[in-house]
Amino acid sequence: MGPSQTIVLQTPIRPRLNRRKLTITLALLAALAIVAILAAGILSTEAATQTSFLHKNHPPGADHPLGTDWLGRDMLARTLKGLSLSILIGLGASTVSAFLALILGVASATLGGKIDSVVSWGVDVVMGLPHLMLLILISYALGKGLVGVTVAVAISHWPNLTRVIRAEIIQLKSSNYILIPQKMGHGWFYVAKNHMLPNVFPQFLVGLILLFPHAILHEASVTFLGFGLSPEQPGIGIILSESMKYLSLGYWWLSLFPGLALLATVLLFDRLGHCVRELIDPHSVHD
């Protein structure tokens, strides 16, 4: 071994993208995906429902990249339309759920006492039923359909985030910047708004992003079971439940691609949520 040769004991493994860059890339991708899918959904409304009996059950090809179904409808248009519907419902439902969690979490942690017990009990009861069962019950109560499934997804996703926010605020409550304004006579709403909310905002944001993939998965599941969107609204759940009848005939493209599209969307937002959490709270890397 020559004297000029340096001995490298350990080569540091450098990831191609660091966490911040990865998060920014994912956020841009996610935003782009939402805008593109929503735009495509609006543009393809007509194509998604247009039937053509000359082009029934075509496998994927040049004219129809994802094939056509038994009514000759273009599956690419249907998938995009379905995904845009799912994303709209998911956005609405996860936003409502996250705000519900924020309000309940802050209220139960700051007001304590009876309200705290009621909220905690509510969390226990909602989590005591299997989630899908609860979704079925709520959509059934609201008479199925678009409204039923959206409300069901919106009002059943809050317990986890409520717990997180409640725990976070209980921890904050003993810090000086909360105690001092309280001693100075500010009301609980003032303190909650000016000193607590800014502190739980990161958790809220992460919770909101991570709720979104859950919401669209659950919407698709409920719709698939027949409690959600109606057949005239081609959600991914509807497309997949329709494809079930044609499964044994070997029309694989009817179920493969719409499901893959849903999977990709869910995966993208799930990763984004985890990346944002790791950026905000480095300790959570090993959670």
């Binding site: 989590m127 299997p130 899908l132 109560a141 698939f224 997949l240 070997g250």
Partner: protein
Amino acid sequence: MSSFWQKSAAGYLLKSTVRLVLVIAAVSVISFVLVSESPIDPIKAYVGEVGLANMNEETYAKFQAYFGTDIPPVKRYLNWAHDFIRGDMGQSLLYRQPVTGVIKEKFANSMALMALAWVFSGIVAFVLGVLAGVFKNSALDKIIKNYALVLASAPTFWLALIALMVFSVWLRIFPIGFSVPLGVAAADVTVWDSLYHLALPALTLSLTGIASITLHTREKVIDVMGEDYILYARARGQRLWPMVTGHVIRNVTLPAITLQFASISEIFGGSVLVEQVFSFPGLGQAAVRAGIGGDAPLLLGIAIISAALVFGGNLLANLLYGLIDPKIRRQGRAS
């Protein structure tokens, strides 16, 4: 020590039973309100739109009496709760037999499916998680991690569709659905037939469970591998496998067990979807039929059974904790 453990366990069981009753009561009230608030007219769902239009008043009144839509909701709930305490959950409107009978019949099928999937996913996920965590950042870890991440985001019913397509339609290895072969008398169905029909749904159902538990176990193993006692074990030259069995597995078993029991709720949800795809006659499929057909008593009954299952899972996890974790055992003795 053993007597104390028995005593505290008995107290714990008593407390849990009270909590179970409270949760079931709450779930039943909420479910009942939800079910009776529904604008879905059970009579219309039962006879269909045309049937309702062609029905004369007398028949309609008979149907109202049969479905109980002419009684006010609070009285209906009290009637129902009174019967429920005596073990009568009412009549299923769709199956035209007592709800308890329908549930009993479907419960066995669902339990076989869920238990198989639950045990399988627990074992596979634990092994995968430990392997990935111990060999962190290796190629094996990356494969396991990405596999779990993708599966965790996949809709269960889509996985079931794909499994059905690949294994039943394309490769023709497994039957296309149902829990028993078609055209065979119930008495002639062998255990092997049942298992054969159970295999693919159970495998599909376990896939989703594997994903989340693998990821969690992996994180816990990575945590443990960073502890000082592992560093010390390495420094004194302990081999990898004795170290894994002696330190790592001992420390990650408890969280894994909690997760495994907490996943019962998820598995129940998954089984509803999987049963729907495979036409598997279980509780989930019955719940969906009940919901679509406006069969409120059956839907209520299944909701309560599912809540009891979830509660039982959490209770078992807590009891097992006491048996497995020496720290909790000793605390109980000291206090």
